[in-house]
């Protein structure tokens, strides 16, 4: 009863190496059962709260070796690991913020391959271990601003996407990069209808080559938790969060601006550029301010910065562009 496969739909022909280790899937309820069974009644009060509070199970992740980076953001209070892993938008695993923490365990992150396709010299595939070793992993703390009006400060782990792009040999007519996320309707059965899965996002080539744009494989010095887009995602800190695609399986170099999921769903609300900009309202709310996640209710609100405070590094990408038109 204690052994469950990482993918309950794949039947019995799953290799034993793919069976999720016990401590990774053991949820709150079975922990209580196991604790009761072994007569482990002498739990500390804190531990009990952790068990009784819903969705509080945090899985231990593999530690990553990292180096410091001059591109990290300093002087900000980090959002707690708890909040970063329990307040997520990952619609493939449900629409509520608490859903991904509960459901993303179903995502099979090993083995994992990323296909490099489109306008490249030779299309190829990188497996996750190659990608983890491609370049030294850096600690990169960034502000994270969601289009919904909330924000976090997250200590990501990764390296500049430009390093990966160099290994892809894109052709000179590749003007955009498209990121396609993992999708399997049998695994991600919570994905709402009408979105045209898999999730697709994109950047202009110069945006993708900007050193701030991060191939992200971890946070808080550990491998990415599944609900945060494991095992590999993009982080574009000066754009609204939905531009930073999670759980990427394909990187495609294209000539024309690629279609992007939220733009398809509602183009009036989610533009292709979606740079953080306090002067351009979302149709349904102002973007002038944001709610900082994890602060008390009376201290959450703070002003939003143009390009999320990364204007020095990225404003020149948009010289001469009307940011109201290209929102």
């Amino acid at each position: 009863m204690l052994i469950r496969k990482s993918d309950p739909l794949s039947g019995s022909n799953i290799p034993s190496s793919e069976i999720t280790p016990k401590e990774k899937w053991m949820n709150r309820r079975s922990f209580i059962a196991a604790a009761a069974a072994t007569g482990a009644v002498a739990l500390g009060a804190e531990r009990v709260t952790e068990i009784l509070a819903p969705g509080r199970a945090v899985h231990a992740q593999t530690k990553l070796e990292t180096v410091k980076s001059p591109l990290t953001t300093t002087g900000e209070d980090l959002t707690s690991f708890q909040d970063i892993t329990h307040y997520n938008n990952f619609y493939e695993f449900g629409e509520n913020k608490t859903d991904p923490a509960q459901n993303a365990g179903a995502l099979p992150t090993r083995p994992w391959n990323v296909k490099i396709s489109g306008l490249v010299k030779t299309p190829k595939t990188f497996d996750i271990d190659t990608l983890l070793k491609m370049h030294p992993l850096e600690d990169r703390t960034y502000r994270f601003r969601c289009v919904e009006g909330w924000s976090m400060v997250i200590p990501w782990v990764g390296y500049s996407l430009s390093e990966l792009i160099k290994q892809c040999d894109p052709l000179s007519n590749a003007k955009y990069v498209q990121f396609i996320s993992y999708f399997n309707g049998k695994v991600e059965k919570w994905a709402p209808f009408g979105y045209g899965w898999p999730y697709s996002e994109g950047l202009r080539m110069d945006e993708a080559m900007n050193p701030l744009t991060l191939v992200t494989v971890g946070l808080y010095g550990q491998e990415l938790p599944k609900q945060d887009g494991a095992p590999i995602r993009i982080i574009v800190p000066w754009k609204y969060g939905f531009k930073s695609a999670k759980s990427i399986v394909e990187i495609k170099f294209v000539e024309k601006q690629p279609h992007t999921t939220w733009n398809d769903a509602n183009s009036g609300e989610y533009g292709f550029y979606s740079n953080v900009n306090p002067n351009v309202d979302h149709p349904r709310w102002s973007q002038k301010t944001e709610r900082v996640i994890g602060k008390p209710f009376y201290a959450q609100r703070k002003p939003t910065l143009l390009f999320n405070g990364y204007g020095d590094q990225v404003a020149s990408l948009y010289n001469g562009m009307d940011l109201r038109k290209y929102y």
Partner: protein, 206 residues
């Protein structure tokens, strides 16, 4: 229904109605309102207001089911006033936590954002209903006029639901459940009237 039972049921209703507030107050004291306390306060008060409005609107159809359920009318005012209470906290939380008490922001939001426009409108419609909820007000207005005035609650609840739908993202279906319940209640009234009329007709012919 005897008095002790009624008092017990009323006490339970009060407890149920105060529950969403108690959760928020407890969370605020413990500094444990979740990762996004502002969003939590706004969402839970809005949802409480809508739920209580919908429950209060279920009372008339329920009473039509059986004369034994007629006592439920004694709970309607309580539910309606609690709905107004939560809608008011919802509005105040928006003014303080979202608009930071800035009149310009509030006016711009009302003018530019349709979900806020209908939300404020829904609250405004509840104000005269709350003010005329006393027995004295019913007497002063007369039952017929009071009833006509309080039909506004249907408009308010529809605007409230629209407010909810327009607030969520395209494709998100969280408001569906409460909308279906409300739709069922709207349909229940004419259906129950028809059913009662048929029963009465059958009784006459036999």
């Amino acid at each position: 229904m005897n008095k002790p039972t009624l008092i017990a049921l009323k006490t339970l209703t009060w407890i149920a109605c105060l529950y969403p507030l108690a959760i928020l107050v407890y969370g605020a004291v413990q500094n444990d309102l979740g990762p996004d306390p502002t969003g939590n306060i706004e969402f839970s008060t809005g949802l409480a207001a809508l739920r209580m409005l919908v429950i209060s609107l279920a009372i008339t159809p329920l009473r039509k089911l059986s004369p034994r359920l007629s006592f439920l009318i004694k709970f309607r005012r309580l539910l309606g006033l609690f709905a107004f209470f939560y809608a008011s906290i919802h509005l105040i939380a928006y003014i303080g936590l979202y608009a930071s008490f800035d009149p310009n922001t509030i006016l711009q939001d009302i003018a530019k954002r349709r979900f806020i426009t209908v939300g404020v409108l829904a609250w405004l419609l509840l104000v005269p209903l709350a003010l005329t909820s006393t027995t004295a007000a019913i007497k002063r207005l007369g039952g017929k006029r009071w009833n006509q005035l309080h039909k506004l609650v249907y408009v308010a609840v529809c605007l409230g639901l629209l407010h909810y739908w327009w607030q969520v993202k395209t494709g998100v279906t969280t408001p569906l459940g409460i909308t279906l319940v409300m739709a069922a209640l709207f349909i229940a009234r004419p259906v129950l009237d028809w059913w009662k009329a048929r029963k009465a007709a059958q009784l006459r012919t036999t």
